[in-house]
């Protein structure tokens, strides 16, 4: 399976089949999640209606971490086994992850203003997510900073793995430092502490964000592989014209 998809052509075939399915699942999950989250779920007893930002904020934050781990893993696979499709996957993941991180920061600011009275506080969770955003930007900048794309993907793969130390810091920042951001309430040893009426729309939205990521990932990877093929064809044409 692992070696099977090292061939870009096979991967393209699979991606073409999967993309519409992923798009459909994303739409269904998002519609259900948004309906349950925005209309059917109760308002919070303390936070009122603003709690509904959660249904975008939490999935975005979750995807910010998920994409980074995906980025680092595919970068490592590309670096160690010289897996060409893994390299493409890492390159395609970075901008998506950066967008999710930005969305998490933005919705966090929108939520923070009515709850904490400030758009931004320098708490451990917020700061470490901001660092994550810079790591994505650094990865993309390093990736495109070399004339030889091979060098770029290798150098940035090492950077992606170095930046992985930030992921556990983000996850546990709310437990290690007692700051303004509320502690974890879903992934806990003693089970989630959210009422099921809110947990279900949240899970649906997380599912929708995840399939959305996979969908966009397939689109970006297909585009990039097509571009590579076009470039190769043009090169051959140019050489033939010269000969």
């Amino acid at each position: 399976m692992f070696n099977y998809f090292a061939n870009p052509r096979r991967f393209m075939k699979l991606a073409t089949v999967l993309s519409p399915w992923l798009a459909g699942v994303t739409l269904v999950l998002a519609a259900a999640g948004l309906y349950l989250g925005l209309f059917a779920s109760p308002a919070d007893y303390q936070q009122g209606e603003t709690v509904r930002i959660m249904y975008v904020h939490v999935p975005a934050a979750w995807m910010a971490l998920f994409c980074y781990v995906g980025l680092a893993v595919s970068a490592a696979v590309g670096l160690i086994w010289k897996h060409p499709v893994a390299d493409v996957a890492a390159r395609a993941t970075a901008p998506i992850g950066a967008c999710f991180t930005f969305l998490a920061l933005l919705t966090g600011a929108l939520w923070g203003k009515p709850m904490w009275g400030a758009w931004w506080v320098w708490d451990a969770r917020l700061t470490s997510v901001l660092v994550l955003f810079f790591l994505y930007l650094g990865y993309m900048a390093l990736n495109s900073a070399f004339d030889d794309p091979q060098r770029g993907s290798k150098a940035s793969a090492i950077l992606a793995m170095v930046g992985l130390v930030n992921v556990p810091i983000i996850k546990f920042s709310v437990d290690w430092w007692n700051t303004l951001h509320q502690p974890a309430s879903i992934v806990r040893m003693d089970g989630p502490t959210i009422h099921p009426d809110m947990l279900w729309p949240l899970f649906l939205m997380i599912g929708a964000f995840t399939t959305y990521y996979l969908w966009v990932l397939m689109l970006r990877m297909r585009r990039e592989l097509t571009e590579t093929r076009l470039r190769a064809r043009r090169q051959i044409q140019a050489e033939e014209a010269r000969a």
Partner: protein, 221 residues
């Protein structure tokens, strides 16, 4: 071990012969710190309040300034390839070069810091901790920076890129370094931030030579 010493002595000798080059980092540090009283105003209370943070941020930027040259000159003139072919492992080469870099840039910063702290009117309780925190923090900066310096070899606009790659990774050192000094000034125990600084240093010492060596290897391919 002989290889380690030989590389260390070579880098130190090179830095001493070039004279001004290594002094430039300390000069940048001094000038950057001096800009703050001019920018924020000479109010003693305000300066005393921001002194630990100003010193640490200026130290971070000065180390960053010197990092681009850590491997670059050796990469340009081809001696990096010879170093990679020499008997000691590339990780050991990296460690020797990082130690030389710290001796040339980190140590002068630590010596200059108390003088600048006096200029900034920092309370005397913080001086010992400032030195201790810098002593733990600056080698960490050199180690983390070595990874970035190895990765940007042969890239376009390496210097600006290095800042984008490395400054986010410097943030823990900054937070705990300032935390230690501020705890000492406020009369709280500074043990926890110091231990965390030590932990970051130990982790960087164990992992960064590998990362930097991997970066160098793919630059030399």
């Amino acid at each position: 071990m002989t290889g380690f010493r030989a590389i260390l002595m070579r880098d130190l000798r090179l830095a001493l012969r070039q004279g001004m080059d290594s002094a430039m980092v300390v000069m940048f540090f001094v000038i950057a710190v001096v800009l703050f009283p001019l920018g924020v105003g000479p109010e003693p209370n305000v300066l005393a309040r921001i002194a630990p943070g100003v010193l640490w941020v200026a130290a971070l930027l000065s180390v960053l300034l010197s990092l681009e040259r850590l491997f670059h000159t050796d990469f340009e003139d081809g001696s990096l390839e010879l170093l990679a072919l020499s008997p000691p492992a590339l990780e050991v080469v990296v460690l020797a070069k990082v130690l030389a870099h710290w001796l040339i840039t980190g140590l002068p910063l630590i010596i200059a810091a108390p003088v600048l702290a006096v200029l900034l009117n920092m309370p005397a309780d913080g001086f010992g901790l400032l030195l201790l925190a810098l002593l733990l923090g600056t080698p960490t900066l050199s180690l983390i920076g070595a990874v970035g310096a190895a990765l940007i070899l042969g890239s376009r606009r390496g210097g600006v890129l290095l800042a984008l790659l490395i400054l986010p990774l410097f943030i823990p050192v900054l937070i705990f370094g300032v935390g230690a000094v501020e705890a000492a000034i406020g009369g709280f125990p500074a043990r926890a931030p110091l231990l965390l600084l030590g932990a970051v240093f130990a982790g960087a010492l164990a992992l960064c030579p590998w990362g930097a060596a991997a970066g160098l290897r793919q630059a030399l391919e």
